[in-house]
Subunit: 337 residues, 4 copies
């Protein structure tokens, strides 16, 4: 932690800050420059982080030196983490594709989609049973019924299941049916939910919030790891910007950035990240080229009638075609699908 | 709903869209322009809203005509809503000031702050018992103990209590102690929490999310109203932008905008909205001048030792001084404090 | 400047950085912490600023200690600057109101508006002769003819003139007619234009860019001051955010922030900042309450036929009514209009 | 153009709008819905675009149906445009790589870099002679001297030259030396500069502004085309968002979006778009995978001493290595380098 003092800070003010640092059991090192005095603090930065040093008289600004996350960081663990989803490994050489409808709508439809995406090379089935919707008047998901369908289809196809949990109260229920529990973008800072998931023994897919900096996203992951669950898969799904042609702005540079800061695997959601089905293929290729460990994609055989996200769903035949193309890109960057 | 067709849309494509509209029980009106055909749809727009018409072949874009919120809108209720908090009325001529520490830290400290802000003219005491913190390693609040202190201090001072609830499981507990239940910015789209609060008979303070459009904010309020609770107070608390000198960008134009779109009262939180105590007074004055119905402000007698948000807390004496100034501004715009 | 080294930085890497600092004539001070070594650099930070130290092997990050602007800063000049526009003083106790049409359209119309806004209390007439328009097909302004009208009306009414200059080639021409030369938001980083204006002896109104941080805005002002012209008036006019109900998000907290960082006067443009005439009055009141030194407002007697910005123009009668209200708010904050 | 009337719009108000539309020579079509009356306008939308219809009494909102750009649109020209830069074709199957230093610093250094990037497969040399710098105290470029060096190196190596022009006054000078004139992000709405470039017979590289929507970017291109110059190459270079780990957020989805809306070629600048040299390779791969027609990349043999942008420059050997990898990705998506 570096404490920069104001140009006109008095000796008494400097002493007051120095005393505070010492009281906390840390060691201050004072450097007097031509324009400013600065105090470097040696010791556990965490102790200082919660102190509002910026309001101490004479202090101009406080600059943390260390990143606030620990367990998720590359410093903590040098090698890539591989999350094992009942045999499907995420974070290794093989790129994992998760696909399926936005919402689970019915058993036959789900089975049809599952069979189709499996054939094209997907290994995880996505599908929402609990749906976060901006409008209270929109379809809110089938709830437990949807979970039952997902499990059933999983048994029939061998696909693993990823599905969203929105409420701390639903964690045990969803955990019973899902192979991966998804935290949606809107719950990225639902800290109680993160804590509950941290106490599970199941993998968690943590979507970046539409308003989350990369640092905050990693801090949310830290909530899960620090509660004991290290099986976290990060998912870039677009951030909110001023650009309104796409639904969000897919931040693909987050992929190599996160991989440099953290050991956790990172996948990309081009369906939500763009909001337009026509952009899914180019952005999926780009995600793989940028180093993503996987993709999560919405597929629906009849998007015109989908109960949600029809605009950003691929037809099964387009998904199949795309998978063929993705294999080429994966190979070009030394990966496989 | 207006459906704009592509320049080269075929007759068959137009017919396909028209049929869909009719199947839904709505009436399409076709206008053929020089460059485009457009279809206006007469009838309940809500029915069409969930249809992904934009992916129908030949469709270029779909433009909703009506706002998606209903119960919160000025159209639904012309006159201003006044929320009655056990006698303290929010939304009328009198501007209501809520003040107190970020977190409840101890009984004596809370009482001291409460007595002080009451003397300066505050009528509601704020204080967090459950704290959403970006870091799992930061102080997370006293929990139920904090609620007990709040209630106790309320009894002693007559101040009403506003405090945050973060978890659906805690709603009954918090409702037992609080006069107003606060939804924090990070839970603006925690829809299950909103639903639970909609089933209460207690006022709710709904903070705008840091990345919520005004429309989404009103839709979140709609969740509460549509579940039966009309006592919602909206709170502007800053949005996330590229500017990083302030913690957030306080969007004061949201105050007159929301008051034109909705009948609900709107207050402003300049502490979180700026993140700097030195900006609280000018932005509080500005909020009142812009038409806010109230303010919520962090006050701490010793910000240097505050367990959270010390940077954005006013000293009680500065709060008192500010209140004197705010009275003048309130009077200048035909209000009182 | 603080240089933070990586956890695993080698002695050779540290030495390499230290040597570089010394070669530049500066003095490095090394502090070895538990987790990191940091190097504080004593001396002219400007010298280091242009060095890409972050890419030196072993360096994790570089944190500047000083603000990059000098002449515009409060440190350079403690007292408020007052810009004298041929007798109209901007930055003192009196709040200065600039008003007029978006574009100069005709001589009679300009004169009519000028007479009206003068009567209501404006002391500067605004009006665009050169118009930056997003579309090449939109009205681009009357050019020199517009300047002639402005000068003529100025002579008749005594109002000072503020008008935009967009092109380095037009600076001498505009300077001949205008009392204040305006740099529009889109030219905030047209550095050659800023340099030309820095060599003038006329006041400059520098609008914040829609994408400018406060720091960048001040750096653009620094271009003008460092070329010799200290008569710069800053103007907050809204920044681009994700919120699209308003045309821009008027950042009123920028007013007290800039006044703390700089000695220059700051005014506010609620017309462009909101894009909606109905929001001009509340945001003008708020701007004054926040501490603005002036306002610049679009007024047109027949907005339905205005050649530009009709949506955000006030009728003269509404402007007059608003001025009466603004006087009350100004008085409440110890100012006058 | 669709005009939506307020719920309580009177017949007189509707008539007033209808009359206005007719006076302009257009044909209004009125549809009375249950909740709203809407007026569709048949005819040249351009005529209506500059009318502030939203302020007409009784009007709720106005929704344009057509895009505001014409000549740049896919509707105007179905097939991809290929810009011929003295034999180097941009926009075809071959991906064009432009590389070189941020600023031209000296003749020997420029020649060295040029020879190196040519060997690796670049066909255009980039290098700034006029540099837009946030600080007036930073290196501003060599000016004409830099242009002379670029030309000289072009003659020796056969590489084409792309270099920035910042001032209308410099257009003839830069046009004399450059093969492609670059408009930087900060000049995206320097409309006079765009007009001057529209009157040239040389290709223009138009960088997206850091705060430009895709629509505004295309409108700026429209300025150039509508003045007669159709040889425009668009360049995505990152937009400003709340994320501050990267210098900007590279919006790769803009590549397929622009290619769907426009016939112009699009290239990507991962150096400025990320601000970190370590991200250039993954984002270059991603750009190609997303469909970009080219890349523009900063290369410097000694970034530690570069006069600008050292942080985001690749070493020549890393550039060479990257080019090898990019060839594989290009092949995977059916292109070549």
């Amino acid at each position: 932690m570096i404490i920069v003092l104001k140009k006109d800070a008095t000796e008494a003010q400097i002493k007051h800050v120095v005393e505070k640092v010492k009281v906390l059991g840390l060691r201050p090192m004072i450097s007097k420059g031509i324009e400013r005095t600065i105090i470097g603090v040696i010791g556990e930065e965490e102790i200082l982080r919660s102190q509002p040093l910026e309001i101490f008289p004479g202090v101009e600004k406080v600059m943390p030196v260390l990143a606030p996350y620990k367990l998720v960081s590359r410093e903590f663990k040098k090698e890539d983490s591989i999350v094992d989803v009942s045999g499907v490994k995420i974070g290794g050489k093989k790129i994992v594709v998760m696909a399926g409808p936005c919402s689970v709508e019915s058993m036959p439809l789900l089975l049809k989609i599952a069979a189709s995406v499996k054939k094209s090379g997907a290994s995880v089935l996505r599908g929402g049973a609990f749906k976060p919707r901006t409008s209270p008047y929109a379809f809110q998901g089938l709830g437990q019924e949807g979970l039952v369908y997902l499990k059933e289809v999983s048994k029939k196809t061998g696909l693993k299941i990823v599905t969203e949990v929105m409420d701390t109260r639903d964690v045990p229920l969803v955990a019973k049916y899902a192979d991966i529990l998804q935290v949606g973008a809107r719950n990225i800072q639902n800290f109680n939910l993160l804590k509950e998931l941290g106490m599970l023994k199941k993998p968690v897919l943590l979507k970046r919030g539409m308003m989350s900096t990369i640092k905050e996203w990693l801090m949310s992951a830290e909530y899960i790891l620090s509660n004991g669950n290290f099986d976290v898969i990060l998912c870039e799904r677009g951030i909110r910007t001023f650009e309104d042609f796409t639904r969000f702005t897919l931040d693909l540079s987050a992929v190599p950035v996160v991989k440099s800061l953290s050991h956790l695997p990172v996948i990309v959601d081009p369906s939500h990240g763009t909001g337009k089905w026509g952009l899914i293929e180019p952005m999926s290729k780009a995600a793989i080229a940028a180093g993503a460990d996987g993709l999560i994609i919405e597929v629906h055989p009849n998007p015109e009638d989908a109960k949600s996200d029809g605009l950003q769903s691929l037809l099964p035949e387009n998904f199949a075609k795309m998978m063929t193309e993705l294999k080429k890109v994966a190979k070009a960057v030394g990966r496989e699908i």
